[in-house]
């Protein structure tokens, strides 16, 4: 069972994000970068599967030099090798998915795992886009998975219940919280990672189909409102929460 895991560095989820001067990108100067948290679930699931069934885990990332850090973290967790699809210039989601699909096609994998979304742009698109380009089945936001006999059974949460899918391999699975408990890279794993290969590939960029026009901060939150005091205020508060804020039914 050979598995590819798509990984990516993102700004620390606790960081305060600011925009750069011309609002064309975020200010990256003092940011702390981490492996996207959902990618850790993807890595853990792939490692568990290969530990049980044999085979290798290959971590794949697409991006500039800095994105290599994601591969080092994945190798330290236990990935056997890594592929760095190098990015030149600007791409959009399709460009990223295209590059990753090409890198996957260059290898031979029975499964691809990815985090269901990266916690920076929250697009949740790369997994399904890669699957479409590969013409593989795809199950997203999986929190429970079984693999065997050339197929997988994956469970995902939906409003008010669970949805269970079966798919034949090869397939793409995107990981949701709850799938497993990601391991901490061990000191031994970190030192061994140094000796593992990182293969570099150049992928021809596809023409971007979307253009990022700019970034804006979310609007300031309007000030809070005091509805009333004590028990008498509760019915009005409930009414507002239901009708105005629409947070309860």
């Amino acid at each position: 069972m050979n598995i590819a895991v798509l990984v990516k560095m993102v700004p620390d989820t606790a960081a305060t994000i600011r925009l750069n001067a011309d609002k064309s990108w975020i200010e990256t100067r003092d940011l702390n970068w981490v492996l996207s948290p959902y990618d850790e679930y993807a890595m853990e699931e792939a490692l568990k599967l290969t530990e049980a069934e044999g085979g290798e885990v290959t971590a794949i990332t697409y991006g500039g030099d800095q994105s290599k850090e994601a591969l080092r973290k994945a190798l330290a967790m236990g990935a056997h090798k890594a592929v760095h699809a190098k990015k030149e210039g600007f791409t959009d989601l399709l460009g990223t998915a295209n590059a990753l699909a090409k890198a996957i096609q260059a290898g031979s994998y029975d499964m691809v795992f990815a985090g269901f979304k990266a916690t920076d742009d929250d697009c949740a698109a790369i997994g399904p886009m890669v699957a479409t380009l590969l013409d593989w089945p795809c199950v997203t936001e999986v929190h429970k998975l079984e693999v065997g006999g050339g197929k997988l059974t994956a469970e995902r949460e939906i409003e008010g219940g669970h949805e269970v899918f079966e798919a034949s391999l090869p397939a793409v699975v995107t990981a949701q919280k709850g799938l497993n408990e990601p391991r901490y890279p061990s000191l031994k794993g970190i030192m061994m990672a140094k000796k593992k290969p990182i293969e570099e590939t150049e992928v021809e960029d596809v023409e971007p189909r979307t253009e990022t026009v700019g970034f804006e901060y979310p609007p300031e939150r309007p000030e809070g409102r005091i509805v009333g005091e004590g028990a008498e205020a509760v019915p009005e508060l409930v009414r507002l929460l239901r009708e105005e804020a629409r947070v309860i039914e």
Binding site: A15, I190, M191
Partner: protein
């Protein structure tokens, strides 16, 4: 990972990828597995034994040793960073790893027989065996050369008599590294748990390092077979070399505690309002925050440089003494300042401050007191051994 560390001088840029990964991995583990439980363990005065296999899995026991002995072969700076993160959680966790790695695995690795190394080191690395280090005695602390514990040669081994006090993990250890005088010369012995005549009662009533077990080692005609003496561990310099390893870990460790105190103080003084605004707008508060940051930054540079020197074999015990002395003193000052700036909240265990402060009182004393390190460096620069 919510916590990015205090790094005013971009010391991160001086670290290798592996060093950063080691630090981040230990940091994450501490965030998830130490910080949420520590106040409770501290209050109950217990060390959570279920964390031992996790620490072993991470590779925190003897990580600088080669792989054949269960280590990871990491460098001294990476080791220091791991100690820093552990002590940001609590000194008890750092102490646990210091004892296992620097005070138990190190002497076996350095002076043990091949058989002792092969049999014991891998099991100590996995935490299957736990160790303790017995040097201090009721009557001899700073002056261990005057120890009264003795070993007497008998048929097939040695008989040990004496008492050790203030021994971290003595009550839970499977292997005790005990220093005793054989014909007037300090020798290192490996005493196994359960040996006849051995007793390790717990020391209770500590107001410091409460999440760390401390006890005595009482030896009454304890027989140690010949193969459990470390043949090359002869002379007072041996235990002192062990302490030197552990002190090096402390140099980094206390920076972790200091950073935790500083981080909490910076946040608290920003959020706490008095006289119609946050208290951090007052010059006296700002000055103290700056002093804290300044001392942390100096301490980091000292630790980093010492680590690189150690990796190159250039760090002598004097260099370690200077840094242990400085960083413990500054960390303790920082914790006390933090205590003050948190006001009444500074004494509550909702904040980590008082716990770190009380821990640092031990760290200031053990592995050579502040005075002793002053006099070691003093002797080096003047040629006069004032401590005698």
């Amino acid at each position: 990972m919510a916590y990015a560390g205090i790094d005013y001088y971009k010391i991160d840029d001086l670290l290798t990828d592996e060093e950063r990964l080691v630090r981040d991995s230990v940091r994450e583990w501490v965030n998830d597995r130490v910080i949420p439980g520590i106040e409770g363990w501290y209050r109950d005065a217990v060390f959570p034994m279920d964390r031992v296999p996790e620490m072993a899995e991470l590779g925190l026991f003897g990580p600088t040793f080669p792989e054949e002995y269960g280590g990871a072969g990491i460098g001294d700076v990476a080791y220091g960073l791991a100690m820093q993160e552990l002590e940001r959680g609590d000194s008890g966790f750092r102490s646990f790893c210091s004892v296992q790695s620097a005070l138990v695995m190190y002497p076996i690795f350095t002076w043990g027989t091949d058989e002792q190394k092969r049999n014991l080191l891998p099991k100590l690395a996995t935490g299957e065996l736990l160790g303790a280090f017995g040097l201090t005695e009721p009557d001899y602390g700073s002056d261990p050369g005057s120890m009264i514990t003795t070993a007497k040669k008998v048929d097939g081994g040695y008989l040990l008599n004496g008492a050790k006090m203030w021994i971290t993990n003595s009550t839970i250890a499977d292997i005790l590294v005990v220093w005793a005088k054989l014909d007037g010369v300090v020798n290192g012995f490996l005493v196994e748990k359960g040996a006849k005549g051995l007793d390790c009662p717990e020391t209770s009533g500590k107001w410091s390092l409460r999440a760390s077990v401390t006890g005595e080692i009482i030896l009454q005609d304890v027989f140690v077979p010949e193969e459990m003496r470390m043949p090359d561990a002869v002379g007072l310099k041996c235990p002192l070399m062990c302490l030197n390893q552990a002190r090096y870990g402390i140099v980094w460790g206390v920076l972790g505690a200091a950073q935790h105190c500083y981080e909490s103080t910076l946040r608290y003084t920003t959020e706490r309002e008095q006289w119609g605004g946050p208290i951090n707008r007052h010059q006296m508060v700002q000055e103290r925050l700056v002093i804290m940051l300044s001392e942390i930054t100096k301490g980091q540079l000292m630790a980093y440089r010492l680590g690189r020197m150690k990796e190159q074999g250039k760090a002598s015990f004097r260099h370690v003494s200077l840094a242990k002395r400085n960083n413990c003193e500054q960390a303790l000052n920082i914790a006390r300042t933090a205590r003050d700036l948190h006001g009444a909240n500074g004494i509550a265990d909702e904040y980590p401050i008082m716990r770190h402060m009380m821990n640092l009182e031990s760290v200031y004393t053990y592995e050579g007191t502040h005075n002793m390190h002053t006099l070691i460096v003093g002797a080096d620069i003047t040629g006069i051994e004032a401590y005698k």
